[in-house]
Amino acid sequence: MSTVLQHRQPAGSAATAAAPAKKPSTKQGDSRQRRESLVAYGFLAPWFIGLGFITIGPILASLYFSFTDYSLIGDPEWVGLENYQRMLTDERLHNSLAVTFQYVFVSVPLQLALALALAMVLDRGVRGLALYRSIYYLPSLLGGSVAIAILWRQVFGANGLINQVLAFFGIQGEGWVSNPDYALGTLIILNVWTFGAPMVIFLAGLRQIPRMYYEAASVDGASPARRFFSITVPLLTPIIFFNLVLQMINAFQTFTQAFIVSGGTGGPTDSTLFYTLYLYQRGFGSFDMGYASAMAWLLLMIIGGFTVVNFLASKYWVFYGD
């Protein structure tokens, strides 16, 4: 457990590790290297086919389709930038972007804050750590399922669990999932509820911080808050960054929860119309494949953009200790 994180390396340098020593470039060495290359391509054959047909091919194809009008029946018809122009004036699209951003930027920080807080409590040598960790992790495994979305729909419904509990205290709740002001909030809570996965990663990261730093700081009279901000946070920034990128990408892709809780509509009044849900409606509800492809490209740009911004910004706050 404690060594796990050491295996993880930054993406860029990962490929350089464990390279075999350079062989002297004799004839024999050359042919041997060539043979090893061929063997490697053999092992990678399924991956190459998958990359071509399942990943890169479709990305390029959707770029082409995004300039066409295509409903699966007949041939795609070239329409130039029309789909992109329509996106500029599509109110529902703009709304879905707003909903998605709100969801990502509210739920991910809350989720990570909770994950870090719990990880810090558990890291103080609590007995039964494994049990607590498992319990808190369970929602992460189940959170994306249809069954949990069904549960959420009931729990936050007009006569749901939340309102039954509130009624016990004499408070009259309302139908949280059917109120456009609160529906998105219930999905944010659902995402925060799945804080267990980043928590486990934080825990592994906290284990890597040498105890003696804290001891030295204590001896020097540093307060717990001071130790948190001057030792824990700086040394944990690579992990925080890692969790942030991952959870943001996850959150951008949320679909099932909104689909089930809103019955596929993104309602009430489009308040839970996530970008992915709207893309689904355009592509597989009205089979407007050209427009859906253009939307897919916008999503790729957004996620790519955020990842790049995250990585660039990380230079200013992530501390790699070298």
Partner: protein, 296 residues
Amino acid sequence: MVTKTSAAPDPTTTNAPERRLPEHLRRSLTHIGLILFGLIMLYPLLWMLASSFKPTAEIFRDPSLFTGNFTPGNYAEGWTALQHPFQHYMLNSAIVVAGSIIGNLIGCSMAAYAFARLEFRGRKLFFAIMLMTIMLPIHVVIVPQYILFANIGWINTFYPLIVPKLLATDGFFIFLMVQFIRGLPKDLDEAARIDGCGHVRIFLRIILPLSAPALATTAIFTFIWTWNDFFTQLIFLTSPDMYTVPVALRTFVDSSSQTSWGPLFAMSVVALGPVFGFFLAGQRYLVKGIATTGIK
């Protein structure tokens, strides 16, 4: 290979004493807090389990875990509420899950062996591309994938759900296995090489058996994700004959009125059951797996 250094970890685990509550009191309070918090987190799950044995009217009235009207009939009713009995959907899910696990184990371990142990042109570039595909949302490629699979007649079959796994499109697992294989001592494969073993035999006889923990992690995660996956199954499976559990549950929600929440909850519990079972059985691998790669 093993280099012992004197830098053993500091055995002191207790913090330096400070102006605080007595240690045992502080510990107890921490435990009480952690247990309370865990209970609040798990309460909806426990309540769903309890409610699956309640009459529907009670589900909308009673927030407690107990019922005076124990109703196992919800399960019988839910099991047959849809077009097919529920085991039909379970079987479909099982086929998709089994195919995905086998596909991921074969495709990803092969790719991982190449990335971790072989020297070839373009290795760094391909590895970087592989890492990038991990971050690629399925929504970006789903439309052209659908068009492709529609053209070769694969819509409403299990192929679009299984074949991509065999083609190692789940980069997480390649990454996970690459990290694991790199941690294995190279002496073993070199010894085998000197004895005249080719790469295929080294892969099959040495690397794969030693990679059992990574393969187990892959299998467990594939099980849970595929069993829970809704988006691709919703898109590629179009007739009730082919529906898997999540897609069937969705039609159940859409068709059911307020009156059938008991059976709906019962079937939701059935849907979560296998995931919960795998969670209990494979916790060790799960925790290791996420700590290594950060996946959910």
